[in-house]
Assembly symmetry: C2
Homo-oligomer: 331 residues x 2
């Protein structure tokens, strides 16, 4: 009998995520009945939101169930179809999780065109991370030309898109990233105006130098001292799109230390989850897809090889070891 | 030569405000030249924002200057006018500060009708505090009927209006106040659905009991543990209008301890200053004035007698000793 591999959540993390929290399993390839589609996944997307799902806490989504396949976005190819909307060879993106194959009734499965856009990009700049950037920037920060937008985790899948979209709107884009290599990439390849290496130890001074006119919008992926430093430089009526708080994903309390500034500078802070705004995805993905196809939206990928490498790649991503969008190449 | 009294800022507070920070002065009554109006102030409004002005920090308004008359709203009567828009006997509200009299060219001076609305109410429910409540509730929280709105400092000039406006919109209104007497007033006289005595020591449990369906909107006047307790009970897409942080006015750092909830519950937090939205004042004041005239918007006043009593009354208000709108009766 044919089998494929999948990874389930074996236990919830106590503090840091450990490889022991995951278990690799071999399961039979299911047979396809009327209306169903069988997909071979080529890429698995690893994203920070998965960390929060591993906790059993009140949040926007139900916790990842123990002993169930880890949640995750996938891009692959239809290998068998008894659904008239799909045929073998179709390239599709879906949410099959940390698994080499997936069976679907077609709901949530989307055909994509790989003529001008590589399949993997549908998990990055032209997928959920890109839409996350697009939504937070255009719907919450809504910057005017000439304003300054700061984004943390600037070399990552979301942050890299935020800055490039801000530049396309005539803003000053300033990134924050870890290490000189990432910062050089953010400025030289992605075209940000500046990028601050938070590991260099001069966060406040470097941020001040990079934002001489203050900050009008913050796209926050990290939290902690980076957010505090940004808030301290906000101009009146600044907007903070709260997308992620990766600094607190291991359970540390996350505090905002300069709450008073929210009042004195009349700031708006808004948390959001891009999947709750499906009505905007066609508009956002159209812009993102056109920019990628035209070479105007650049991205980089970190690709781990094989499903068994996923836990280590995921743990590394949470520590900032990836460079650009973190993927797992499955087959 | 005729004189009147005024109070100037003598020094900036080190921690708590002290009577030494103020100085009472006697100054000559000015003569009135063409275009000017001389006003005798009957009431001085004491408001929490004054505390922040006493600090020399970056904020939405310039700091109160040392040795200058303390800023403040006043309600009084024209005693001499060489301005065609005003005549002696006109009731007016203005910003003459902590002073028994004031000279104006008419800018910022507004005639008010005291036929159905008492003069002092123009410093409270039908003035800046009322508009603050109206703006935060209608423009930021924007509650739907059936939603739960929580307001801290609920018996105060702003909080009392917030809850009554929320009730008028079909919401569940829950107040937070200090002591059983204030709480009884908030429920029995103002008509809130419930009011929690934060001094009783069971803030979290009491708040949970009073908000069985969670919290959709918070009008925050206090900050600190009260805000944290509210955030912990917010429903998805909840809105927090950040109006004041009286808990941090003496310079303690103000932190928001559950920042993660802003993200997981997709909350919006917005600081605001009502004076920056003059275009909405006519609409808001019309509603507030009609409600007061109809007896549908109730309020209470704490009135200190004489300008010399202002510093003590102000310090008491910062500690929550007032009950309702804090005023000073001047003449």
């Amino acid at each position: 009998m044919n089998t494929y591999q999948q990874i389930v959540l074996a236990s919830r993390p106590q503090g840091h995520v450990s490889p022991d929290n995951f278990r690799l399993e071999s399961v039979p390839v299911p047979s396809v009945v009327e209306g169903q589609v069988l997909v071979r996944n080529h890429f698995l997307s690893l994203d920070p939101y998965m960390r929060m799902r591993m906790e059993d806490i009140k949040s926007y989504a139900a916790p990842q169930a123990l002993n169930a396949v880890m949640v995750g976005g996938t891009a692959g190819e239809v290998v068998e179809s008894k659904n008239p909307k799909f045929k073998p060879g179709d390239k599709v993106v879906g949410m099959f999780g940390w698994a080499e194959m997936g069976l679907s009734d077609g709901a949530g499965l989307k055909k994509v065109d790989t003529a001008q856009i590589p399949l993997s990009a549908y998990l990055g700049s032209v997928g959920m991370p890109g839409m996350t950037a697009w939504y937070g920037l255009t719907q919450i920060i809504a910057p005017k030309a000439g304003e300054t937008v700061v984004v943390s985790a600037a070399s990552g899948a979301v942050g890299s898109v935020v800055g490039q979209l801000a530049k396309a709107r005539g803003c000053r884009a300033v990134g924050i990233a870890g290490g000189p290599e990432k910062c050089a990439y953010v400025v030289n390849e992605l075209g940000f105006d500046d990028c601050i290496d938070y590991k260099a130890g001069n966060l406040k001074a470097d941020l001040a130098a990079a934002t001489p006119d203050g900050i009008d919008g913050v796209f926050e992926n990290v939290g902690g001292e980076i957010l505090d430093a940004c808030v301290a430089r906000m101009n009146p009526f600044g907007r903070i799109a709260l997308c992620g708080l990766i600094a607190g994903y291991d359970g540390e309390p996350m505090v905002l230390n300069n709450l008073r500034t929210l009042l004195t500078m009349r700031l708006t802070v808004r948390g959001f989850i891009v999947s709750e705004h499906p009505e905007l995805w066609p508009q956002g993905l159209t812009e993102l897809g056109q920019m990628v196809a035209a070479g105007k939206l650049k991205f980089r990928e970190s690709i781990a090889e094989g499903l068994a490498a996923a836990p280590e790649a995921f743990i590394g991503m949470l520590k900032g070891k990836n460079f650009g969008k973190q993927l797992v190449k499955l087959i």
